[in-house]
Subunit: 422 residues, 2 copies
Amino acid sequence: MFEENPLEKIGQEAQKASWKLAETNTAQRNQLLEKIADKLNANIEPILSANQKDLQTAKDGGMSPALMDRLLLNTERIKSIIADIKTVIGLNDPIGEIIDSKKLDNGLELMRRRVPLGVIGAIYEARPNVTIDIVSLCLKTANAVILRGGKETINTNLTLVSLIHQALEECKLTKNIVQYIDNPDRKLINSLVRLDKYVSMIIPRGGQKLQEFCQENATIPVITGGIGVCHIFVDKSANQEKAIEIIINAKTQRPSTCNTLETLLVHKDIADPFISNLSHALKRQQVTLHISPEVKQFLPEDGAAFVEVKKEDYSKEWLSLDLNLKLVSNLNEAIDHIRACGTQHSEAILTNDTKQADIFISQVDAAAVYVNASTRFTDGAQFGLGSEIAVSTQKLHARGPMGLEALTSYKWIAYGDYTTRA
Amino acid sequence: MFEENPLEKIGQEAQKASWKLAETNTAQRNQLLEKIADKLNANIEPILSANQKDLQTAKDGGMSPALMDRLLLNTERIKSIIADIKTVIGLNDPIGEIIDSKKLDNGLELMRRRVPLGVIGAIYEARPNVTIDIVSLCLKTANAVILRGGKETINTNLTLVSLIHQALEECKLTKNIVQYIDNPDRKLINSLVRLDKYVSMIIPRGGQKLQEFCQENATIPVITGGIGVCHIFVDKSANQEKAIEIIINAKTQRPSTCNTLETLLVHKDIADPFISNLSHALKRQQVTLHISPEVKQFLPEDGAAFVEVKKEDYSKEWLSLDLNLKLVSNLNEAIDHIRACGTQHSEAILTNDTKQADIFISQVDAAAVYVNASTRFTDGAQFGLGSEIAVSTQKLHARGPMGLEALTSYKWIAYGDYTTRA
């Protein structure tokens, strides 16, 4: 307990840097982001060559092509990262905003002003674009950041961070505003999440194990999220043809994402012929069904492949072309299933009955609840936030896609005329 | 890690109860609060007699009169608790409020709706009115709550909770909406803060040790706060006579509270005669000064008592008629001192120079920042929130006095017309 935290100095420097950053205005911070975009644009070659090193190491280590693709940068992807920075530049800056203000009876003028959180710690894996995503959202909102990326991307990330440092220096700002932990020792994650004297928020962007580790060990508030066991309930009043389109979209548009459909709940009254039609449509998309026993009788022989579902499958984030399928007797049964197996991420009801929709909306506890829409929309860009730093599935501070506002706190400010409390 | 949490069942029941409670409307919840007020009113005698038991045990155990006074209920105090319930009934219910809504280009109607957090865990000490404060704010916002009060108040608390249970039952609601952990085993605090499957937020209302314990051991987001090492900086342009009134108010109006002034920073240019005048005024209030060496030359012989300050005193929450006093050369030195020793609670500048005020406001990082006002205003009732569940000194979710809004989260709701993502 009295051992010094090996990241103490990094935390201290980050906090000091955050104070300096907080003195900049919106125009200066946008200028800094422009500078970073320019640096990336002027250094595509060095970035790609650093990325090649990471890819080679990954290949030598036997990484799967799918994972290697997440690692890969090319000119087009870098251009798209630069475009994302420009999007953030174009967003409204929440810092300094007055949330509400009032004059109290005693004459005090009281208001809440949006301020940066201070220092944010981000732990993430694989994709190098995340480095720039996080940095641009943090800088826009005047937050310093301590980054801890995956070791697979170390060369790419260090190149990106050195370009960010160049931009900071050219803007006469300390490079401690963006610090990167390059020591691969996993113990340092534990050190990072215990820097509560300096860091206001930890964002673990990674799998369940990372999230649980942070929840278990952090002394700093952690934003958990990004794990999505998402459901669609097809009510008996739903338009069945359109329901099939939604299901295809939610399952197959990009199966590896957290807002992908994993379990479909169908009202038993429409099992015939809905299940059969659906099965044919899913076959064309090469989806494999994991069915509860009572579904079998409704499945056509020439439809989608299927296996019997195991109980634990209902809590699984497939992230693949697999789909659990279960019949339910009514809305309540669907809600009970979602309460038992969901991860409070994204849940949808397909219905033409507004009463059923209202009940679903109020009783299903999730970051995003949909009526007659695909679960795939839970995303900062789709929701008009411009970008997102994470998708929160917890309830404190921010829920769902986290944009700029989620990177702010507020302070109460009161102006008096030498006012004392009676 | 795989041991069953001894509070598992309590957590589970609380979550189920929270789902039921979430189905009630504002009128029903206000009715429930009315019923609780009625029960208290009709049972003043049994409450007082339970309180007598606690007082007797406290006396036998040698509790100090000051602490016993915190424990004490009398008819007047119960009436005042009942009045507080009525205040909460009169407050606007934030649940169901639409925070923002927009129609996206693809036709999706997107909005955020305020919802209860679900289940709240509250750990607190001594004062029995806190039980009713927490319960009424939680019930108003449709949150279930698990209470863990101090063992000194156990008889009073159990009587209060049994009256709340009667009210719940008469309103046809499950009494699991308000559960009380009556087992005095301190290990159960550790169990409570690890019920992350069921509980959304932990509020530890107590001293630094309790706060640190929760930060260290909780797997649920914790709201830390309530520790206030508050400062006032008297700038050279301040109205010195009025400054003294503010200092007296901030230090002596109720010294045992967290928003009380603990360290006074005075611009050296006004040390003479300000320090001398102040010292005379503080003497009348029986304040003892803890001074840095350079202050001594300005102190009159017939002024307030003083001792030399120790370095660690600057980080101490005196909660008594003691006051640290230090000279600073300028605003920056004051800000540096506050950054080093403050607890981000309440900080004030007294100045007639708006530029200095602006710098102080933006550079001092605290829940509440005051210009020409006493720090004593940081309080839910004073800020017009009606009441408060705690005063947060962290930056996530809620900062400063936490009223009803701080007991809510939101969900994203999207209505489509069988809308798919392109």
